[in-house]
């Protein structure tokens, strides 16, 4: 797994499904749950401190975070604080999945907008409907965008294509 991920810059979806932090099917279907895609030993632990439920176990500084999925409430505080932007929320409904990811570009999408949902490689895999764009002072300018996408793309969609029309010459 590691070799491939260091060559291409992202993890293959099959490897993600084998990862210790891949949430169980039962949990994914219950309600939103954190998908912690942090695969290297990095000296970093704010996700653990941000979790009000104590659902992230990480001893010391460099250990990989481990999610206790039964404790996770899907609040998304870890998603916003993670400096690596490596945490997402996944919730699986009957036919759709809701994917929440950190977003730090302008212009921001707005609710109900249809956008291009992209995978870890930045490729458009399907259309997604924007359910929510959350921001707060604690999140310190990182917005959390929640997209609704067809269920089959639940393990793939991790962001959206940047919207055009920003930053034009003033």
């Amino acid at each position: 797994m590691k070799d491939n991920w260091l060559k291409q810059g992202y993890i293959d979806v099959d490897d993600w499904r084998k990862d210790m932090n891949y949430p169980s099917e039962a949990r994914r279907k219950q309600k939103a749950v954190a998908a912690i895609e942090c695969f290297q030993e990095i000296p970093c632990n704010p996700c653990r401190d941000a979790c009000p439920a104590g659902a992230i176990v990480l001893h010391g500084l460099v250990e990989r975070p481990k999610l206790m999925e039964d404790l996770c409430t899907g609040c998304g505080l870890c998603v916003a604080v993670c400096p690596g932007q490596a945490i997402f929320l996944v919730e699986e409904r009957e036919r759709h999945a809701r994917i929440t990811f950190p977003y730090e570009y302008v212009p921001l999408p707005t609710q109900d907008m249809m956008v291009e949902a992209v995978n870890r490689a930045g490729e458009t895999v399907c259309q997604g409907r924007v359910l929510r764009v959350a921001e707060s002072k604690t999140m310190n300018k990182t917005r959390l965008v929640t997209l609704e996408v067809p269920l089959r793309w639940a393990d793939e969609v991790r962001s959206m294509k940047r919207l055009e029309g920003d930053h034009e010459n003033g």
Binding site: Y10, I42, P43, L61, V62, V81, P83, A86
Partner: protein, 365 residues
């Protein structure tokens, strides 16, 4: 006109390391003069607009420039005297420091000296590398994040270390297009999570590739890139031309050792830490007993280690000046342990080895 100035502790360089040193020394009661050649303090912190790694103690999850603001407030509250536009140009025989301050030359006599002069960015050369539009990644980062000025629209990034990855991301945040990133090594060298951010934004990352030529009349108009073999030699027939207006070099940093060298500090060489650097002991003392070194000068790492090395140097220098309290020994121990933790894990281990060697070299002098 040469005027004289005296202080107990002079800190050269007001980046994270220098600020950390000044803050901890001032906290123990030392009168500290902190000088910097720039017209603002904070070093390179103010161009870091991403959230930092680390722990609560390192303000993890806070953006770099916000950490800079917090450190400046703390230094000011503790009474650190900050002198800007003040460039340490040399060390005199009596141990005093010659400082160019505007048009004046000032001679500063300090009992202890902490050098936190940072690092400079490296460059690689190729035909066309002097064309306008070829510059360091740090230059583009400074101009975009501090001065609200994009240096280009269509950009090729060279180097996949954390600087190359983070600056690519930040320039996209400001509206630029990153047409691709080349890395001469077979794998991405920065953190995977930083690579993940620019991959999700669709940036091609070409490993085992390098820049062969920049083309353009008065500025960069095109870049030719190509694959390299295991000996890093270009592979014939793999050239690819991209239309870009800017080529950014993120190919490592080198400690700025000039002052340390002038002070007579013994230098060692650690390639992973950027090349020549002053050897030092566990508490950041150089081989000269009144000169401490910290931050990128003492080996290029990142802002968290720079800050903690600075805090350690400041605490140790204060103690040597006779300022300490019941908590000082404990504080130093915590900082030493914290620095050790920051150098754990897949990425830190090599730096940990280098640092152990540096400390060993110091004890052999």
């Amino acid at each position: 006109m040469i005027s004289m100035k005296q202080c107990e502790l002079l800190v050269v360089g007001a980046g994270p390391a220098g600020l950390g040193a000044a803050i901890e020394a001032a906290r123990l009661g030392v009168s500290v003069l902190l000088i910097d050649e720039n017209d603002t303090a904070g070093g390179q912190l103010f161009k870091q607009i991403h959230k930092f790694f680390g722990s609560k103690e390192h303000y993890a999850g806070t953006r770099g420039f916000q950490i800079g603001q917090a450190l400046l407030r703390e230094a000011s509250a503790l009474g650190v005297e900050v002198m800007l536009n003040a460039r340490a140009v040399g060390l005199l025989d009596d141990g005093s420091v010659a400082v160019q301050y505007g048009k004046d030359l000032i001679q500063i006599q300090a009992s202890k000296l902490i050098l936190a002069t940072g690092a400079k960015e490296n460059a690689i050369t190729f035909p066309g590398w002097t064309l306008p539009g070829v510059m360091t990644a740090g230059a583009a980062q400074t101009f975009s994040n501090v001065y609200d000025t994009l240096v280009g629209k269509n950009i090729l990034m060279v180097g996949s270390g954390n600087v190359g990855l983070i600056v690519s991301y930040q320039l996209m945040q400001a509206g630029a297009h990153i047409k691709g990133l080349v890395e001469v090594l077979p794998a991405i060298s920065g953190y995977g999570v930083h690579a993940g951010k620019i991959k999700r934004a669709g940036v091609p990352i070409w490993t085992k590739h390098t820049v062969l030529e920049a083309k353009g009349k008065r500025r960069v108009e095109e870049v030719v890139i190509g694959e390299v073999d295991d000996q890093r030699k270009p592979v014939y027939g793999t050239q690819k031309t991209l239309e870009v207006d800017t080529i950014l070099l993120a190919v490592g940093l080198t400690p700025r050792v000039e002052l340390a060298s002038m002070a007579g500090c013994r230098l060692g060489v650690e390639r992973i830490l950027g090349g020549h650097l002053p050897v030092h002991n566990q508490e950041m003392l150089s081989t000269k007993d009144s000169v401490y070194v910290c931050g990128d000068l003492a080996g290029v790492e990142e802002a968290n280690t720079a800050l903690d090395e600075g805090r350690l140097a400041g605490t140790a220098a204060a103690e040597a000046l006779g300022y300490s309290d019941a908590k000082t020994a404990d504080k130093k121990r915590c900082l030493v342990e914290g620095l050790h933790d920051l150098r754990m894990g897949t990425f830190g281990e090599k730096r940990l080895d280098c640092k152990s060697r540096v400390i060993e070299k110091w004890s052999c002098v």
